[in-house]
Each structure stands twice: as structure tokens, then as C-alpha cells.
């Protein structure tokens, strides 16, 4: 008999043997596929957010300069602009005005930004789609905002930013500089932070160093650091994401190990009979290998495909409560699907390979013992 013919015969036998224990094996595949699904969902989500950040934040300011007072951010005087402009290599500097506004009516936090080129004039705002979705009842087209002076500013909503841009704009409220200063009672002559452009991108680190030297109470953040932040923050190989997953993975390893090592009496008897009928030890191991392949491959395909649908079609609904935390505003985003041969192979080696080998070892032990002893045990 040819090699392939033998493999097919053993596979046929393995499948019929698996079908004899339908319920048990179906339960195993469901649990296994769920673990693959969880692992793949986390990997897809983290990788996609990372790539999205890299693609979008490429346009972030080259350097942001913050002022610190006793370890906290503080408003930065506009007089710093001239001192920074004097540093060789700095092409432009301007102050930004932005802050957070807590809306007590719905418990949401907005990011309020004063737009220098705001097109609509005073007492008007442009809002992000997340803000629009969660506007308190009865607000309608005018949004009352309580200023830090205690009075209310009635801001007319002129525009809502597109839903496609929610991942960067969901919680934004844009307004004119004058309205911003009035709302937060920020006097003229100070800003929240400064943004810089540098003539030669290779000089960014040098310029950042010179800023700290000239103004020791400031902290520059470069674009490279912003991009590295998202690279590290959503690195699925580190942090709490993996800590959480290790729990699930370990539970599965114990489950698989227990299932694989503790051959049932029926399985032992089956091995004994097969040996008695003249099967070689290698044939029995081959049969168990195919069993591992069938169970793990089925679970792998199911888990990976369902995880992709979950993350990129259903916006990772299962993780929503974990990601949302205490936030009221949560962007309704559609992530850019990311699937690479590297990710698929990582998932494959993390899930399929260990299980397949875990099934082979105990059956090798059972297969090498005397058939009579195996059947009597």
C-alpha cells in the first residue's frame, strides 16, 4: 500500500473513532475554537489599532512642548514662543489651546479645541460624531456649556465631523479662540502647549534637547515618541493584554493536557485492540497525530475566521465593555482589517502545534505497553 493510501486509511479510521465520541469531541472543539477566537481577536484588534495610529498620526506635530509646574501640566506663556523660535532649526512655533470639558448632563468628557481658523465665528461649535450621538436630551441644536466663570455659553452646533473620522475626532468640540478663552477663563498670552515644525526632520531630537536646555520647565514630545507610544501601548506581546490572555491560555493548556494525557478507558481499550489486531506502535501514534490535527485545525479555522468577523465586522463587540471602561463616549469605529502571514503563523504555532503534540505523547506511552495489559487496565 502506498504511503498516502496508508495515511488516508488511518485518517478514515481516526475520523470514525472521533465520531463515535461526538459529544465529547464537539465540546472540545468549541472550547478550543473559543480560545483561538479570543487570542486572535486580541491580536487582530491590537495590531489594527497600532497600524491605524501609525498611518494617521504620521501627521501629528513634529514637536509638542508642554510646561510642567510641580510635575503637572501648566499653561505655557506665549513669551516662550520667541525664545523657541530663536533656536536654530525651528521653522515655526505656535500656541495651541485645548482642554477637557465634563458634561454633567450625560457624564461625558469632551476634548475641547480652539481652532485658529474656525470658520463659523463666536458662540458656535463643530462637534465630533460621538458627542453628537450622546448629546443630552433637550439640547437640540444649541449646546449649553457652563463656563469656569459660572455663566452658560449657548453654543450653536454648526457641523458634525464625519463618522469615518471618529477614531480621531469622536469626542472633539471645536470652537473659536475667543469662546475657548471665555469658557475656561484662560487669559490672553498663554496657551495649553506649543507645537513646532522643524526645518530638517533629522534635527528634531537636537532641537528638543535645546528646548529643554533653554527652558528647563518644559517637556518636549516628538512625533517619533507619539508613534512609539502607540507601538508600545498596543503591543499584544506585552502588558495586561497578554497577562489576561495567559490565564485563558493556561486554562486551555490544562484542559488539553488533561484530555490528552488522561486517555479514557475506552481509548486505552481501543489502542489495545488495535495492537492486538497487528497495528504497529507507529500506526497508533499516527492515528493520534491525525486526531490532534483534525481537532486543532478545525478549531483554528473556526476561531480565526470568527475572530476576524468579530473585530472587523462587529467592531470587537465582546471587548467593548472592557475597552469602554467608565467612558461615556466611545468611538463607533471601523478598524482597518489587518491580517498578515506572520499573525496567522503566530496564532497557528501558539494553538495548533502544542495541542497536536500533547495528544501524541500519552498515546505513545499506551501504544508501547503490552496490548493485554492495556486492555486489562
Amino acid at each position: 500500500m502506498s504511503w498516502t493510501g496508508k495515511q488516508r486509511n488511518i485518517l478514515d479510521f481516526t475520523l470514525s473513532s472521533l465520531l463515535r465520541r461526538k459529544g465529547r469531541n464537539a465540546a472540545l472543539i468549541v472550547v478550543y475554537a473559543f480560545v483561538v477566537f479570543l487570542l486572535a481577536s486580541v491580536v487582530f484588534l491590537a495590531q489594527s489599532i497600532k497600524e491605524e495610529a501609525q498611518a494617521v498620526l504620521r501627521e501629528a506635530p513634529e514637536i509638542v512642548v508642554q510646561r510642567l509646574v510641580a510635575g503637572r501640566h501648566d499653561l505655557i506663556p506665549e513669551t516662550y514662543i520667541d525664545r523657541i523660535r530663536g533656536i536654530p532649526g525651528v521653522a515655526s512655533v505656535k500656541a495651541r489651546l485645548w482642554g477637557y470639558y465634563y458634561e454633567p448632563l450625560n457624564g461625558a468628557n469632551y476634548t475641547v479645541i480652539a481652532d485658529e481658523n474656525f470658520p463659523y465665528g463666536k458662540r458656535t461649535v463643530v462637534i465630533g460624531n460621538g458627542v453628537a450621538r450622546h448629546l443630552p436630551p433637550l439640547v437640540g441644536k444649541t449646546m449649553p456649556m457652563r463656563s469656569y466663570g459660572g455663566s452658560y455659553l449657548f453654543m450653536r452646533i454648526r457641523e458634525t465631523l464625519s463618522s469615518e473620522s471618529e477614531l480621531v475626532s469622536s469626542d472633539l468640540v471645536l470652537m473659536s479662540v475667543d469662546d475657548f478663552r471665555e469658557l475656561f477663563r484662560i487669559p490672553a498670552g498663554v496657551g495649553t502647549d506649543l507645537v513646532l515644525t522643524v526645518s530638517n526632520p533629522r534635527e528634531v531630537a537636537t532641537v528638543a534637547g535645546k528646548i529643554v536646555e533653554a527652558l528647563p520647565d518644559t517637556r518636549p514630545i516628538t512625533r517619533a515618541e507619539v508613534l512609539r507610544t502607540y507601538d508600545a501601548v498596543f503591543d499584544w506581546r506585552g502588558g495586561m493584554i497578554v497577562a489576561n490572555l495567559i490565564g485563558a491560555l493556561m486554562a486551555f493548556v490544562i484542559f488539553a493536557w488533561d484530555k490528552a494525557t488522561g486517555l479514557s478507558a475506552e481509548e486505552r481499550r481501543e489502542i489495545g485492540i488495535l495492537k492486538g489486531l497487528g497495528w504497529e506502535t507507529s500506526d497508533v501514534i499516527l492515528m493520534k497525530f491525525w486526531e490532534g490535527v483534525v481537532v486543532s485545525l478545525s478549531s483554528f479555522f473556526l476561531g480565526v475566521i470568527l475572530a476576524y468577523v468579530h473585530v472587523f465586522f462587529a467592531s470587537a463587540t465582546l471587548f467593548e465593555s472592557a475597552l469602554k471602561g467608565w467612558s461615556v463616549l466611545y468611538p463607533d469605529f471601523r478598524l482597518k482589517p489587518v491580517i498578515t502571514p506572520y499573525l496567522v503563523s503566530v496564532l497557528f504555532f501558539l494553538t495548533v502545534v502544542p495541542y497536536t503534540f500533547a495528544t501524541v505523547v500519552p498515546s505513545w506511552r499506551a501504544a508501547t505497553t503490552d496490548p493485554d495489559a492495556v486492555m486489562r487496565a
Binding site: 465520531l19 491605524e52 510635575g71 481658523n117 475566521i305 467612558s327
Partner: protein
């Protein structure tokens, strides 16, 4: 080809699974092309407003703008305050804050 043999059915299943995986690759490629316009829009907003962060977690300052947060923000709500926002437990600190 007959499906009377279990192995034939299994190989068919594996083929379908592989085709499913290939379809995911094709879908990702197609969506990337289709979403290019939306990328441009997001980049424009980032550039025009000088944004530094994605709007993912709006519950705390340091989770809304992790790139712009400082070392102490998670602990500065009151003396002896411990970091307590749920989303902070799934975010690693930015590398420029964790390296001395």
C-alpha cells in the same frame, strides 16, 4: 469525487478553511484600498488640529492622550491616589515615560 470516505470530507473541509483564510486576506486588501479616502480625512484633521492621540478611551486624561500624559497623571487625583481607571489596565505606559 465521493464524500463516502471521511478523509475526503476532511480534506474538503481543510480546503474550505484555507479558502476562508485567503478570503480574509483578500477582504483586508480590498478594504484597505476602499478606506484610503477616509484615511486622508483623518490625517487632515490630525494635521489641521495638531492632534497627538487616537480617541479610544475618553474616561481619563492620560488614557485619552497617552502620548501627552506625564509620569504622575495616573496618580495625581489626590495624595496617595492609586491609578483606578479600567482602560488604564490594558494600556502600557508610553516608552518615553518609562525610560529614565
Amino acid at each position: 469525487m465521493t464524500l463516502r470516505r471521511g478523509s475526503t470530507a476532511f480534506f474538503l473541509f481543510v480546503t474550505i478553511g484555507l479558502c476562508g483564510l485567503l478570503l480574509l486576506f483578500a477582504h483586508a486588501y480590498w478594504r484597505e484600498k476602499a478606506d484610503r479616502a477616509a484615511y486622508g480625512e483623518k490625517r487632515e484633521i490630525v494635521k489641521a488640529l495638531g492632534l497627538t492621540d487616537l480617541c479610544l478611551f475618553t474616561e481619563a486624561r492620560y488614557t485619552r492622550h497617552p502620548a501627552a500624559a506625564d509620569r504622575f497623571t495616573p496618580f495625581q487625583d489626590h495624595p496617595l491616589s492609586l491609578e483606578h481607571f479600567p482602560s488604564a489596565s490594558i494600556l502600557l505606559p508610553p516608552p518615553h515615560l518609562s525610560t529614565p
